[in-house]
């Protein structure tokens, strides 16, 4: 195993499924004919177009079935969830004159947060709902932010870092009572929890294929019938005039199959995968002192575990895990381009002594018990090794007579 060159068949333990997932072999197999045999354009009026158009419509039904949409024509295929999110925000502003406010949360994915800050620089008034220390939001506070100038409320269904599930059906009801359009970024919820858009007044929903074992480069925007809509991308009649661009047929077919597989594996995710996640959590808490489980343990997606290891830094943990071929991710400053800890941890007001040491483990239906056991075998050693190096960890370390300063993890001091 080469720890700098990992992938399926190359070894390694992949526990970063909230970032992206392995493409299911059944998905690849279903896509292949649309690279080779069926290369026609779905818009063509000849025999090359017919099977392609049929394939797209079949995939649309598979997608609608997974998310519980009443009509397949409510599904718009996009290039990614970021495109879906951008489209949702813009169409809400474009279709409603005199409404220029958007309500969202402080813990959204950058696809919403960064788009929001762009919009706010251009005259849109943004309201960001704060979260408590467990990362949860308050429905009453949400209701209080809605008014007659609110163009859209956009609340994620599940959080990518903590796995927290938000009460989207209830929030959508509240928005509807205020006659406010409701959108949800459901990238981390689709395929992980049971959901049904037809049962609550959700106007729009975004998700992407690559989080549910389809390839990268394919996303979905669900738009409920009756929701006023102006396209984000102009230039063609595809998707009933709602998203221009020749359909990415192989990827659409792949996404359809991935959705069908996701639905078939929902129970497994909620039972076997959840049990593995819980085993990992219990094992970590039992063997490693001074660690905190992030998020709300009462309602998280079944595959996600986020743990803060106090007094050590996340990137260092990831590097050492990677030496064993174990892949996870971190909310620490050093593991990103930014110099600050993740905006989700900051919104939850996690102390810096923990925020820099958060590690997210995210499982999938391909995760095995042996992989969890192996992770539990090496992790305590990694943390204790890094704590031996850390000046904030003073257990069993001799004192130094000449030191005129103490490293205090709760201090606000900055030296140089």
């Amino acid at each position: 195993m080469d720890s700098r060159n990992l992938g399926e068949g190359l070894g390694g333990i992949y526990l970063d499924n909230n970032a992206t997932t392995r493409i299911a072999p059944e998905v690849v197999e279903a896509m292949m004919p649309y690279f080779t045999t069926y290369y026609g354009n779905a818009s063509s009026q000849h025999g090359f177009g017919v099977p392609v158009e049929k394939a797209i419509e079949h995939a649309r039904e598979q997608v609608a079935d997974l998310i519980g949409a009443q009509h397949a024509d409510e599904i718009i295929f996009t290039s990614c969830a970021s495109e879906s999110d951008n489209t949702a925000l813009w169409t809400a502003l474009w279709t409603q004159k005199n409404k220029n406010e958007i309500v969202t949360t402080k813990v959204e994915h950058p696809a919403i947060i960064d788009t929001s800050s762009f919009l706010s620089n251009h005259g849109v008034i943004m309201h960001y709902l704060s979260v408590d220390k467990k990362g949860d939001i308050d429905a009453d506070k949400f209701a209080a932010l809605l008014n007659e100038r609110t163009a859209l409320a956009s609340i994620m269904w599940a959080n990518n870092e903590t796995g927290n599930i938000y009460p989207v059906p209830r929030l959508a009801e509240i928005a509807a009572e205020h006659k406010v359009l409701f959108h949800t970024d459901a990238v981390q919820a689709v395929g992980k929890i049971q959901l049904s858009v037809k049962d609550s007044p959700i106007n729009m929903l975004s998700f992407s294929g690559h989080k549910i074992h389809a390839p990268k480069g394919i996303g979905v925007l669900y738009v409920r019938r009756g929701t006023r809509f102006i396209p984000y991308l102009h230039g063609g009649h595809q998707e009933r005039g709602r998203r221009a661009g020749t359909e990415n047929v192989p990827y659409i077919v792949g996404l359809g199959v991935a959705c069908e597989l996701a639905k078939a594996h929902l129970t497994e995710l909620d039972t076997r995968v959840r049990a593995l996640r819980d085993k990992l959590e219990r094992g970590i808490v039992a063997t490693i002192p001074e660690c905190l489980v992030m998020g709300d343990e009462g309602h998280r997606t079944p595959n996600t575990l986020n743990v803060a290891f106090k007094f050590v830094e996340g990137e260092a943990i990831l590097l050492m895990l990677n030496e064993y071929g174990i892949a996870a991710s971190s909310g620490s400053a050093c593991s990103s381009d930014s110099l600050e800890p993740s905006h989700v941890m900051q919104a939850m007001e996690i102390p810096f002594s923990a925020a820099h040491g958060t590690i997210r483990f995210s499982l999938s239906r391909y995760t095995t018990e042996a992989e969890i056991d192996r992770t539990l075998e090496v992790l305590p050693g990694i943390i204790s090794r890094l704590r031996e190096l850390s000046p904030y960890w003073n257990q069993n370390k001799p004192a130094i007579a000449k030191a005129d300063h103490m490293f205090d993890p709760d201090s606000q001091e900055r030296r140089a």
């Binding site: 813009w90 005199n98 830094e313 050093c334 110099l339 001799p398 490293f407 140089a416």
Partner: protein, 306 residues
Amino acid sequence: MWDYSDKVKDHFLHPRNARVMPDANAVGDVGSIICGDALRLMLKINPATNVIEDASFQTYGCGSAIASSSALTEMIIGKTVEEAQKITNQDIADYLDGLPAEKMHCSVMGREALDAAVANYHGKSYEQAHDDGEIVCHCFGVGINKIKKAVWENHLTTVEEVTHYTKAGGGCQSCHMRIEEIIDEVWVDLEKCGVPRPGYVPTPLEGIRIATSTERPAAAASAGTVSSTAAEASPYLEKVQKVLQEVNDGLPADGSEIELKDIQGSTVLVVLKGPLESGMMGEMIMTFLAKKLAEADSSLSVKKAD
């Protein structure tokens, strides 16, 4: 994932001299848990010869912070204090076969720990020995002297590079203009010393405002809505909005605009936009606005928001 050299990886996975030295006679503590890295450097200096006979470290931080600390101890053992102090952050990076640009601040931290240890050896506290100067970056607590030194020693030309080396400017970014000024100041001196300055790119201007609906949302927004919850609860809100709407309606359509920022007690905080932002017109508008607000309610006063 960061692309670390094999040497960085080696020093991270097998750090040299990583231990507590209880009988150290020089201890240098730098960094902060808030900023995400901290380093304690411990030295044994022979008082007779001034030679650093032993060095060890404790580091909280990422892979390159640990590797830089490890490298520093290896580089200074056997050197006199004076020789060791000639080592620059670039020397530490070179010893490790380079660091990613974004991680250069790790080598700077190593260099600072050495200074702090030498000060401690001479019986000076960190505060006595350390002159931050004016604090430029409040997010990471970085002073002007550290920025000047990094620009001077490493010939930095952009704010981004300064952030990579010192972290300054890596948070809220409000100090970016000040950092540009400091870069310019240092380069005046560098050029006097015969260092040619590579061409530099001015900061791009803010983009153009685009309306998102067919109405004028920006103007309507400024008068109609305010994001502060304090202002929303203010008993004066309605009166203030009415006055602002009137005054805004009378302004030329050249981007001039008064935006309501907050209402604190009976003080109205506003932001002047467009041509009003500076100059005489802005001052006149503030006087006019104060008069109009006093007419609406005698207890109201107005101030420009910071």
